[in-house]
């Protein structure tokens, strides 16, 4: 279980080195994206159009931040991860269309996403769900926001972060998957528990 400090844009070889259980701190730019932003990114790719952000070596954060506007600037107040499951369907396509290297979220993602991570050389990192003020403290500034028509939580926020973490590598590019392991164990204990019920 090693510790890494990485700068964006992330390089494929750096990401492929990561193993489940490692902890990572990211500095640079990260992009928020939830259900609707994923849809729009895919639509653009299908239409052959460019998105308003550069996603080479990008970090996508599953988050709908709580923000406020002060003196004409956006400020991130609270910004923990949202449940990544909702993005299961769109993520394999997203990884095909854009060279994203890291996804940050909570709760883990599907087997198809795990496959796509392996194939494309990307990882999924877990951030403790609800630890939103800690996360916001690592956000230095809002660089810009796109697609505000989707609503504040669903918009595409471009955030400059410093030592964003500790992120736990939960699904790596080798097929390692901490959620799968924990889930398998839980299902095994469930069988035993059910057999012993009175």
């Amino acid at each position: 279980m090693a510790e890494y400090r990485l700068k964006t844009p992330l390089k494929e070889e750096d990401v492929r080195k990561l193993r489940v259980g490692d902890s990572v701190y990211v500095s640079g730019i990260i992009y928020s994206a939830r259900d609707l932003a994923h849809r729009r990114l895919l639509k653009l790719a299908e239409a052959g159009e460019k998105p308003p952000v550069r996603l080479e070596g990008a970090v996508i954060y599953h988050v709908g931040p709580l923000v406020r506007r002060r003196k004409g600037r956006w400020e991130v107040v609270s910004a923990g991860p949202t449940t990544s499951f909702r993005m299961n369907k769109d993520t394999p396509r997203l990884l095909e269309c854009y060279p994203v290297r890291m996804i940050i979220g909570k709760g883990g993602m599907s087997g198809e996403v795990a496959e796509a991570l392996k194939k494309r050389g990307a990882v999924y990192c877990h951030y403790p769900g609800g630890a939103a003020v800690l996360a916001a403290e690592r956000v230095k500034r809002v660089v810009k926001v796109e697609w505000l028509d989707l609503g504040i939580p669903e918009a595409l926020w471009v955030l400059e972060v410093e030592d964003f973490g500790p992120l736990l590598v939960a699904m790596d590019a080798q097929g390692g998957n901490l959620y799968e392991e924990a889930g398998r164990k839980a299902r095994r204990s469930l069988e035993k528990l059910l057999a012993g019920l009175t």
């Binding site: 709580l66 901490l178 924990a182």
Partner: protein, 292 residues
């Protein structure tokens, strides 16, 4: 004169409820904080301990910065208890308080139309905030606010069990639901259970369980025993903090029930994430008020 008097009361209630929402969004109730500390101390999984440590640090950081502890400030529900209620006036105050708190605390605008997905921008909407009126024989008025995020609400479900399965069926279903939910509702969770009634009442029972503090058992011995047994079972699954493995899957299991039809056994499982945000405002007959 009378109209002015009502308006004044509405204003004061609105003001107090803005403070109430602020407190709920920023600071967890002490029963929840204690339970999280206990979980941290008893957790044996290394990754699990890291999750709980981050949770505890975040609680402190939110309090000292005066910021909402989770970005998902959720859908807002109010539980209003009183002997007699001026529904229209109270509802007006509560709605206005939500709009103002959204800007002042601030809260994330999280309320959208179910189909168009258009965000209303101020956390109110059709039938939102959700208000549950509870007529009770008490001298004061109590308003409990609950901020409920989507992660835990999305994992909730209703089960129509064959009545013949009885208590065993209830145990099986609850434990299966917890394993299926995994890390999605941000464990350690509080599992709130409703039993019996017609299905609306079943869920209402689960919501009444939700506002009961942790550590306070159901007054009936048999139900209290089932709560204890379910907590033990749930924490034997090993789902653990954030679904990454460990012994602290739930902080508490609470049950409320209504009698039901002889041919049904409805069971509602409503998950509450560790960010169990609720606070209560009590207004005494002399007009003095306190928040706890």
């Amino acid at each position: 004169m009378a109209v002015e008097c009502v308006e004044l009361k509405v204003r004061r209630l609105e003001e107090a409820v803005v403070q109430l929402i602020r407190k709920a969004a920023i600071e967890l109730p002490s029963d929840v904080k204690e339970a999280l500390w206990k979980a941290y101390k008893s957790e044996t999984s290394k990754i699990g301990r890291i999750q709980l440590k981050a949770i505890l640090e975040n609680i402190t950081a939110a309090e000292s910065a005066g910021k909402p502890l989770c970005q998902d400030t959720g859908l807002i529900s109010f539980y209003v208890r009183s002997r007699s209620i001026d529904h229209m006036a109270v509802e007006k105050a509560l709605r206005r308080a939500v709009v103002r708190a959204s800007r002042l605390v601030p809260l994330r605008p999280s309320v959208v139309h179910p189909l168009t997905r258009l965000n209303t921008g101020n956390n109110t909407g059709n039938r939102i905030p959700n208000i549950l009126w509870m007529l009770e024989d008490i001298d004061h008025m109590e308003v409990t606010v609950v901020l409920k995020g989507a992660g835990s609400e999305n994992s909730s479900d209703l089960y129509m069990l064959p009545p013949g399965e009885g208590v065993k069926g209830v145990k099986r279903t609850v434990v299966e639901a917890v394993v299926k939910a995994g890390g999605q509702p941000c464990p350690p969770t509080i599992v709130n259970i409703g039993l019996g009634g017609t299905v609306d009442l079943t869920f209402k029972m689960a919501k009444l369980a939700l506002i009961r503090p942790l550590g306070k058992r159901h007054p009936e011995g048999g139900i209290a025993e089932l709560e204890r047994e379910l907590l033990r079972l749930v924490n034997s699954t090993g789902v653990g903090p954030m679904g990454l493995g460990g012994r602290n899957t739930a902080l508490e299991v609470k049950i409320e029930y209504a009698h039901g039809h002889t041919a049904s056994l409805p069971l509602a499982v409503n998950f509450q994430c560790w960010a169990d945000r609720r606070a209560t405002l009590r207004i005494h007959p002399d007009g003095s008020a306190e928040i706890f």
